[in-house]
Symmetry: C2
Subunit: 192 residues, 2 copies
């Protein structure tokens, strides 16, 4: 996979591990498996890193940095809360394919001992979305709830799609549109 010179740096181990994380999940970053990806053996790994836990933590640190950055990027492009929120939804939907590992993350978090990082990232995402909703006129608590629900939708959709054979259509563009509309529509004029 990345077999250049025989020598491998500590960072290359994190690179390869991160690739596994994004593609499959945190539980797939195993020492011997990553070694195979790199075309080397774990003898190298245990020279550069302490143990598997250290590698997992390094992967999560990178994830925290990258995902935080992406959230900011998706926002700063547009002007006005509504446009920013819409852009964010679009970006998240578009990058769904590259967040394969994230679907498993919340379930592995505790067992892998990375619940704190996951919580920080989640907190940041919720706060950001909730902030935009507040700008749109929602109360602080209602905004937080709606933000939480929005994150849940992203996670949930990803899993429904993964664990489901055909027969169920997933038009991400339309789903995103619907979700966005539901998020910004105040609770007036209910039917029934």
């Amino acid at each position: 996979m990345a077999q250049g010179g025989r020598r491998i740096t500590a960072e290359q181990w994190v690179d390869a591990a991160y690739a596994r994380f994004t593609k499959i999940g945190l539980d797939s970053v195993r020492v011997e498996a990553v070694a195979r990806d790199l075309g080397t053996t774990k003898g190298s790994f245990y020279w550069h890193h302490a143990d598997r836990g250290a590698l997992v933590r390094a992967v999560m640190e990178r994830w925290e940095a990258e995902e935080t950055e992406h959230i900011i990027a998706a926002a700063s492009a547009e002007a006005g809360p509504r446009a920013r929120l819409r852009a964010l939804f679009g970006t998240v939907a578009a990058r769904a394919g590259r967040r394969g590992g994230e679907s498993r993350l919340y379930l592995d978090a505790e067992h892998e001992g990375v619940a704190d990082v996951v919580t920080r990232v989640t907190r940041r995402r919720v706060d950001f979305v909730a902030g935009l909703l507040v700008e749109l006129g929602f109360g602080a608590e209602e905004a937080e709830r709606r933000a939480l629900l929005a994150l849940a939708v992203v996670l949930g959709l990803q899993q429904l799609e993964r664990g489901t054979r055909p027969h169920i259509s997933f038009d991400h563009a339309l789903l995103t549109e619907t979700a966005f509309t539901m998020a910004v529509t105040p609770p007036h004029a209910q039917v029934g």
Copy 2:
């Protein structure tokens, strides 16, 4: 755990496996682990069942039957689509604790070879919710999308809660209320 007479039936194996599934997840139903729960050994298991796959399939069949039944039960109690939908949301929220295994299910489905069952149950749930939304005046496709989003919220919230250390509040009652409102509020009068 369930150590009565030494003799164990094929069904008791499924019972114990199902208990593991609901509490932890499908990946936790392992032959030797279930044997320990039952106070016996896998020698018994391989007499009653062919292999681990058979046990997993049996667990999923029971899950399909039970969960389908619960959906019907939550609906038939009330009268009118709005009340039925609200009752359904409430039941789902209340039983969240007993669906611990389900959060992992969609991710394990393919690897465990049970994607077909998962798809059938999902299809049934989506159709049911979508049907109620149609009765409330939504178009068929909009209803399907909203139903899909509602299922996604359930899955996603469960994971956000599991993979997250304190600091993030989960008032299920209020979240359910908000989700219900968002689900039944037509896309009029948007802010911004």
